[in-house]
Every structure is written in structure tokens, then in C-alpha cells.
């Protein structure tokens, strides 16, 4: 069979993908674009160009979806170690040649756009976890230590940037993958215990501004014009939205530039101020549908590797949704994690697209071919 024919065959299975999931993701992308426009509308034509860029990134995300879907998760597993090695190499190069902003080296600056390698690394990590945990089931301490060692390469490289939010996402993904792969409960409890005990050590490793963020989370009013500013302004934006919101483009918090990082980390605040509790609930409902469908896919998959893969990806997406929204309403500290599908950012959208492609690849292969 020719390569083109194979591709057509691969893509023909698109008709079997989870339409409910697609129906949840597309409105989220659209809401994201609209909110980015609104967040920047106070700054003139930048708003249009950024909203358009987000549309372009969304399309790139769809392309990434097609590619990983057509490739199939099993083929991706075959190249799992290579993908992971590539990701580690990129993260290392980043520390040498990356662009430093606000004390962290998280980006490659290509002029026309910037690239954040820690995003695709989440995908590579999901794949490698699935491959490794199936080959060496985490029933013994040696195997558990093995997977921890393997995944610690990416975690440490991200910690060196330093990108605290990224590290927490990775750690959470590893934990969930271990749980799904059937790690005995005593080891899971042990890991959780170690994580708790290492908090003081972690604290001493934080940068000053990160410590301040934590303290501010506990009490935002200690520094109302400094580190607590973001949280306070975000809470005001969300709260002022009320039940139905102030209406599109009418939110004063973002238009008067009170709200910082409005089109990236705090895009949910912009949306909530203008569309209120009703709008925010709809967004949460869409996210809930998305996660439900992914967990459903994992549960139905007969392939243990597929299960772990989808679980790790779900952990990643769930954690970012929860942390981001919790941060905007002030019940979690500010970590700078993007809200999946809504925050401005190409690296995130393309990585998410590729991740969903793999999830759907698992989904269609779980489905009987002949009915």
C-alpha cells in the first residue's frame, strides 16, 4: 500500500472520533479567542492581531491533532524514547540559548513567535510514562524508582528555568500515571508523604518572587500594589461580573488595565467579568465534558499503555484547568499556568492538539472495527 493510501486509511478513522469531546473543545477555543480580543481591546489594534494569531495557533493545533491521530498512538510509542530524548535536548538548549523574562528562561525567541518547550515535553512525558510503566510494571520498588529517575530528567530541567508551575504539572502527571498503572497503595502513600515532607526543601529553592506569591496567596493584602495585586484585581474582576456579567467589551478591570496578564494567565477573569457566573459555569461545564470524555476513553481502552497515556494527558489538562481557575478566584496561589484552550499561546495550543490526537487514537482503537 502506498504511503498516501495509508494516510487516507488512517484519516478515514476520523469519522469514529469522539464527537462529544470535539463539541466541547471547539466552543472553548472560540471563547478563548473572543476573551483574548476583549482582554486587549483597551490597547488598540494589538487586540485584533493577537486574536487572529490565536486563531492561527488553533488551526495549527488542529493540524497537530491530525498528525498524531494519523500516526496513531502505537507508532508514537515506538518512537517514545526518541521523542523524550528530543524534548530533553530542547530543554537543555533552552537553558543555554533561551530568552529570559521575569527571571525565568522558559522561551525560545524566534522573533515572529516564541516557543515554550516545556509544553510539548508534557506530551513526550505522557508517552514515555505509558511505555515504561507497561514494560516495567510499578509493582516493585526498583521499577518505581526507575520511572521516577527517568521522568526526573524533564522535571529537573524545567525546575532549572525555573518554572515552578511546570514542575508541579509534571509531578502530578507522574503520580496519576503511577496510580493508573497499578502501583500498590503503600507506595503511592509513601510518595505523597515524601512530597509533603520535601515542601520545606522546595520552599528554600524558590525564588524570592515565588515565595512572595505563596505568602500573598495566604494573605493578598500584605502587598496590595505588588505581588498581591494580580490576585486582588482578578478577584475583583470575577466578582464584579455578578450573575450575568457586564457584557462583551464592558469589563472595566481589563479595559482600564487593572488586570495584569489579561490575555494569558488571567483570561478567565476577563471572560468572567464580562459574562458572569452563567458564562463561567458554561465554561466549566465544557471543561467537565472534555475531562469526562477523556476518562471514559481511558476506562474503555483495553490497552494498558493507552490507558496510562490518556490518564497522564487528562491529569495534565485537569491540573491546569483547576489551578488556573482556582488562581483567578484566589483559592490557589499564582503559578503562571495557562488555561488549556483559552489562554493565548501557540506552544500550549499545538501541544494540546497533539495530545488530543493521541487520545482520539486510543479512542478509535478501543472501538470494535466490525459491528
Amino acid at each position: 500500500m502506498t504511503g498516501l493510501g495509508a494516510l487516507r486509511e488512517d484519516l478515514s478513522r476520523l469519522k469514529d472520533i469522539d464527537r462529544v469531546l470535539v463539541a466541547a473543545v471547539i466552543p472553548l477555543l472560540a471563547i478563548g479567542v473572543v476573551s483574548i480580543y476583549s482582554a486587549l481591546a483597551g490597547r488598540g489594534e494589538v487586540a485584533v492581531s493577537m486574536a487572529l494569531r490565536q486563531v492561527v495557533w488553533s488551526v495549527m493545533g488542529v493540524v497537530a491533532f491530525m498528525i498524531t491521530f494519523a500516526a496513531g498512538y502505537e507508532r508514537m510509542f515506538r518512537y517514545g524514547y526518541w521523542l523524550y530524548a528530543g524534548a530533553l535536548l530542547t530543554l537543555t538548549a533552552l537553558l543555554i540559548a533561551g530568552y529570559t523574562a521575569k527571571g525565568a528562561t522558559s522561551w525560545f525567541d524566534f522573533g515572529a513567535f516564541r516557543f515554550q518547550p516545556s509544553e510539548p515535553t508534557k506530551l513526550a512525558l505522557s508517552i514515555i510514562l505509558a511505555v515504561f510503566l507497561c514494560r516495567y510494571p510499578p509493582k516493585t520498588l526498583v521499577n518505581i524508582l526507575g520511572v521516577l529517575l527517568l521522568s526526573s530528567f524533564a522535571t529537573v530541567l524545567v525546575l532549572l528555568q525555573p518554572d515552578l508551575g511546570g514542575v508541579i504539572v509534571y509531578a502530578f502527571m507522574i503520580f496519576v500515571a503511577l496510580a493508573v498503572a497499578g502501583t500498590p497503595r503503600k507506595y503511592l502513600l509513601l510518595l505523597a508523604g515524601i512530597a509533603l515532607l520535601s515542601l520545606p526543601v522546595g520552599w528554600s529553592m524558590l525564588k524570592e518572587y515565588q515565595k512572595l506569591r505563596m505568602l500573598v496567596f495566604l494573605n493578598p493584602s500584605i502587598d496590595p500594589l505588588g505581588a498581591g495585586y494580580n490576585v486582588i484585581q482578578s478577584r475583583i474582576a470575577v466578582g464584579a461580573g455578578g450573575l450575568f456579567g457586564k457584557g462583551f467589551l464592558q469589563g472595566s478591570q481589563s479595559k482600564l488595565h487593572f488586570l495584569p496578564e489579561a490575555h494569558t494567565d488571567f483570561v478567565f477573569s476577563v471572560f468572567s467579568e464580562e459574562f458572569g457566573f452563567v458564562g463561567a459555569s458554561i465554561v466549566l461545564f465544557l471543561f467537565a465534558v472534555l475531562l469526562w470524555r477523556m476518562i471514559r476513553t481511558a476506562a474503555r481502552s483495553g490497552d494498558q499503555r493507552g490507558k496510562i497515556l490518556v490518564a497522564a494527558i487528562s491529569a495534565w489538562i485537569w491540573f491546569q484547568i483547576f489551578e488556573n481557575i482556582a488562581m483567578t478566584v484566589g483559592i490557589a496561589p499564582v503559578t503562571g499556568l495557562a488555561l488549556p484552550f483559552m489562554s493565548y499561546g501557540g506552544s500550549s495550543l499545538v501541544s494540546l492538539g497533539a495530545a488530543l490526537g493521541l487520545v482520539q487514537s486510543v479512542h478509535v482503537s478501543a472501538r470494535p472495527q466490525y459491528e
Binding site: I236, L249, K255, F277, L291, F322, A326, V329
Partner: protein, 556 residues
């Protein structure tokens, strides 16, 4: 799923149960930081005459929301009309629509009111409370087009510039120097923006001042430029296209820098329509081009001092070497004419060669010296390199040796090329300021100065030139004005040494050059004049330089 329920509960608490509290907080979110643009430093000439300064004007602002109410709009229009400002409701809404982005951002209804206009409006009891004034600094250039190429102008910062500057320094709407001294000394002139912390009402209108950081005024710049001499240069050019430049031969202080045609920087600084801008940019004579530093021309006979010096320094000729000019000579298979075709100059040595600008002498001397030595000495005198004047956009010209020709045309260098090179024609291109710098080096005994518009600054590099050849070249160009082609430059009460030039122009009539320094006994100033399509250096450019040097030496 539980986690998402937690979020919904949190949102419900914030947006429904405590909504009133936060709506209130948002409304009271009143502290606003307003940037206060600093007053830009002034630019003065050598005598303290103001070349660039600022005036404060006022923009009358309004919030688009306020004008959406038809009655208010009509009231504002009626008020303005009664005070002699015809602004129909439709026009007003049109202006608002053009600038409108979001309801919370104020737009300019009437720009650039004077203090008198504003106070008469504001003191009126009927002054609509929806309007409010905002002070703005505007740049004015009292000398207008005369110094436009020296100063450049200021304009709103463009997106590309915003990206180029270090982040946070500039914001959209800020003014920034474009071209000329305004651009080159931007960091000195600009000053530091101040900040005013104000309390605003729900519409964002200022209620009272809470805190204030004074803007740091930009530093004044004192130029070495002499506005009187600059004006004289402009009068002497009398509208002809070209360039005039003069500087101190010892420290490079620039006295005159005039390019014609020029443009008025005032409307540019206050904002012109894109149609007017396009007209200015498309004008075939290119008024925005600073011909002194960015116009490149064949130097023609004015260049002959360099081959003369090179030939003497390389011992290819001596003071006594004589060639016979019969009106031309054969080089390779081509016949090269002298400008004096009928009969020629007869026996010619280096001094007479410079005096009468005899081409045959320089063909011979150049061929004996060899192109490599000619190019080498050209480079010593700064040909092919920017002079480093404190202006942006300087051209480097073209030193155009064999290596360049090979790369550009894939063709080897012929003896005929050397002959052409020796009389400053062919591929060689210089800016007027580069030429003036060569003559300054001859005048000051071999120092290559860096021209400076800023008063007082000086940099020069000693070229370690041999004394003998320098004295002979000087003698030659003194003869030019005493008895040779440049006599008309010497009629203005000061002794001048210099050289005429007539550059072949493939697009029309020949360009006329004169470059020289004065006084001969103790040189102080060098000046150059280029008249595009001026035909003869001796008559078109010589008197400009002579009279200008006379003025500079007299009023020094």
C-alpha cells in the same frame, strides 16, 4: 469532577453571593497612574539661538460614552459653535468613531489648543462638563526648513521602533526623534517621563491628584552650528539642488550643514496626513535626502589631491617631474582627453597640474603610482568609510578598487580604469562631508577629524603623513585660487586654498564642486559646495565656498 464542583462553588460565592462587594470594589478601583511626558531638551546653535523647542498645547478630550447621548452631543456642538469653533455633531461623532476603541478610553475632540484658547473656553460658565483638557508638549522648529536636515524631527513612535527599544522605555503615543540630531541624541534630549497618581471617578475622569513624580526634563543640546552661516549657505544656493557643508579643520565642529531642497519639520512634528507624507517621499528631487551625508557623487577633479599626494608619497613623481599635455593621451586602446582639448597644457608638473586641473598629468601620475597605492591612500583619507558624524543615515560612498570591480562586475581592472580613477571619475563615489574631511586633513597637517555637530566635542586621528608631499599639495591648491581654475573663490576677503570639480552626471548636466579651506596661512575652516547639474565648479560652486569661508573667518 469534585474539583470542578469546588470551582463552581467558589465562583458562585464570588459572583453571586459577594457580587455587590466586588462590583463596589471595581467601581472604587480609582487609583490610576498617568504618564507625564517630559519636556524634550531644546537644541541651540553656537550663539544660543533656539533651533528646536517645545510649546505646551492642550487637547480637549471626551469620553465616547458621553457623546452617545444625542442631547449632550448637540449641546457640546452648540457651545463650540458659539465660540467660533465650527464642529457639527456629525463631524464630532466621526472623529470619535475614528479613535474609538472601548467606552472607557477618552478620545481627542479638539487637538492643539493654545493656553489662551483653552482658558477662554474653560472659564465660560457653559463649558460642557463632559469635556476636559489634557496638556501636551509639541515640538517647534523656529528656523524651519533651514536646519531641517540637521535636526530631523520628532514623531509618534512606530511599532518597529517600539520593538527595537528596550522594553518599557517607550509606549505607543510617545514621541521619538526621527532623523538628524533629534534621533542621534534621543537619549539625551528625551528626559524621563514622570508619573501622576490620580483618583478617578467611574468614568475614569480625574477627581484629584494623589501622588506626583515630576518628569525629568531632557537636556538641552548646544550645537557648534552657526545659524547665520547656515542662512548664508541657503541664500547662496538660491534654490539650486545640492549641498553645502563647513567645519572647523582642527576639531571637526560643524558650522554649516545644508542640503537643498529641504523640508519643513514643523508640520511633520505635529502630524501630517499620509497623503502629504507620500507626496514628500515620492518627490523626485527627494527633499528628505540629506545630500551632505547621504548623497554620493563622483568627486571628479576635487579628488586630485589624493592621487597627487599618493604619487608624491610613493615617489612615483617628484616636485620636478614633468609630463607634457597635448590635450589627451592614449591608454591601452582608448584615447583619454584632457578637459582642455585644443592644444593642451604643455609641460605640467604636480603644482601646475593641480592649479590647472590638467587631466593628462593625473593620468600619467596615476598610472605610475598604480591603482593599489591610489586605493590605499584613498582609504587613509577616509574614502569609502562613514566620517562618523553625529547624525544617523550616513552613506559610506564607494572606494571602488580592483577587488570591488571584480566582485561587482566580474571583470578585471584595466589601466584605463586607473586613469579614470586618477581624475576622480569612474566608480569612485564620495559624500560631500567625506570630501571636506580630506581637505581638512590637508589643512591641519594630517589629522583625520570626526565631524561633530555637538559643540566642544572633538576626536581626530593623526595620519602620520609625510611633510614634503603635504606641503607640495597645499602649494598646488593655493595656486588653484590664486591663478588657476578656482579664482572666483578667492574674492571674498580671505585667502582660500581649494579645488574645483565638474563631475560627469549620467542623468543630466554635470555636477559642480568646490572644496577649500581658509585662511591659507593658518587654516581654520573647510567648506564644500556641491551644485547638482551646476555645470562648472569654478562658477557655480566656487563663489559659494569663498563667500561662506569669508563669513566664517570674519565672524569667528
Amino acid at each position: 469532577m469534585v474539583s470542578l464542583v469546588v470551582l463552581v462553588v467558589a465562583l458562585f460565592r464570588l459572583q453571586v453571593l459577594q457580587s455587590d462587594l466586588y462590583v463596589n470594589l471595581a467601581a472604587r478601583n480609582r487609583l490610576r497612574l498617568v504618564r507625564m511626558p517630559p519636556a524634550r531638551g531644546r537644541i541651540l546653535d553656537v550663539n544660543g539661538t533656539v533651533l528646536a523647542t517645545n510649546v505646551q498645547t492642550f487637547d480637549l478630550m471626551v469620553y465616547p460614552l458621553d457623546l452617545q447621548d444625542k442631547e449632550t452631543a448637540e449641546e457640546v456642538s452648540r457651545f463650540l459653535k458659539a465660540r467660533g469653533i465650527p464642529l457639527e455633531v456629525e463631524q464630532m461623532l466621526e472623529r470619535v468613531r475614528k479613535e474609538f476603541t472601548v467606552p472607557y478610553r477618552a478620545v481627542t475632540l479638539l487637538p492643539d489648543l493654545t493656553l489662551a484658547q483653552l482658558s477662554s473656553l474653560v472659564s465660560d460658565p457653559d463649558f460642557p462638563r463632559q469635556l476636559f483638557p489634557v496638556p501636551v508638549w509639541r515640538r517647534v522648529y523656529p528656523a524651519g526648513p533651514l536646519v531641517a536636515h540637521v535636526l530631523g524631527y520628532v514623531g509618534e513612535v512606530t511599532r518597529e521602533e517600539l520593538e527595537r527599544f528596550s522594553p518599557g522605555d517607550y509606549r505607543g503615543g510617545d514621541h521619538v526623534g526621527k532623523g538628524g540630531v533629534e534621533e542621534f541624541y534621543e537619549s539625551v534630549l528625551r528626559g524621563t517621563p514622570g508619573q501622576e497618581a490620580i483618583e478617578v471617578d467611574a468614568r475614569g475622569r480625574k477627581v484629584k491628584r494623589v501622588g506626583f513624580i515630576e518628569p525629568g526634563q531632557g537636556e538641552d543640546l548646544e550645537l557648534a552650528l552657526d545659524l547665520g552661516a547656515q542662512r548664508l549657505a541657503s541664500e547662496l544656493m538660491a534654490g539650486r539642488v545640492g549641498a553645502v557643508f563647513a567645519m572647523d579643520v582642527h576639531n571637526g565642529n560643524v558650522k554649516v550643514l545644508f542640503s537643498s531642497p529641504n523640508f519643513d519639520a514643523n508640520p511633520l512634528a505635529w502630524g501630517i496626513s499620509s497623503r502629504e507624507w507620500n507626496e514628500l517621499m515620492r518627490d523626485p528631487v527627494r527633499p528628505m535626502l540629506n545630500r551632505v551625508i547621504a548623497g554620493t557623487y563622483p568627486p571628479a577633479s576635487t579628488f586630485k589631491v589624493v592621487p597627487a599626494f599618493a604619487a608624491l608619497a610613493e615617489n612615483a613623481v617628484t616636485r620636478r617631474t614633468t609630463f607634457t599635455c597635448t590635450g589627451g593621451m592614449r591608454v591601452g586602446n582608448r584615447f583619454f582627453r584632457c578637459w582642455k582639448r585644443d592644444g593642451g597644457h604643455g609641460p605640467v608638473n604636480v603644482v601646475k597640474g593641480l592649479r590647472d586641473s590638467c587631466d593628462v598629468f593625473f593620468y600619467q601620475a596615476g598610472l605610475r603610482t598604480g591603482i593599489d597605492a591610489l586605493v590605499k591612500w584613498g582609504a587613509v583619507f577616509g574614502v569609502g568609510e562613514p566620517t562618523g558624524i553625529d547624525l544617523p543615515g550616513e552613506a559610506r560612498g564607494n572606494i571602488a578598487g580592483p577587488a570591488w570591480k571584480l566582485e561587482r562586475f566580474r571583470e578585471r581592472w584595466y589601466p584605463g580604469d586607473t586613469a579614470n580613477y586618477s581624475i576622480g571619475q569612474g566608480f569612485l563615489l564620495l559624500t560631500p562631508i567625506q570630501l571636506a574631511r580630506i581637505y581638512a586633513a590637508i589643512a591641519n597637517g594630517g589629522k583625520l577629524v570626526t565631524p561633530r555637530l555637538l559643540k566642544g566635542a572633538k576626536t581626530s586621528v593623526s595620519l602620520q603623513l609625510p611633510e614634503g608631499p603635504l606641503a607640495i599639495v597645499k602649494e598646488g591648491i593655493e595656486e588653484v585660487v590664486l591663478r588657476g581654475t578656482g579664482r572666483r573663490a578667492g574674492q571674498y576677503g580671505v585667502s582660500v586654498a581649494g579645488k574645483t570639480g565638474t563631475a560627469e552626471n549620467p542623468h543630466g548636466d554635470d555636477h559642480a564642486w568646490f572644496v577649500g579651506y581658509a585662511p591659507v596661512e593658518n587654516p581654520r575652516y573647510v567648506a564644500v559646495a556641491l551644485v547638482e547639474a551646476g555645470l562648472h565648479g569654478s562658477s557655480a560652486a566656487g563663489p559659494v565656498v569663498g563667500e561662506l569661508l569669508g563669513y566664517l573667518c570674519r565672524f569667528d
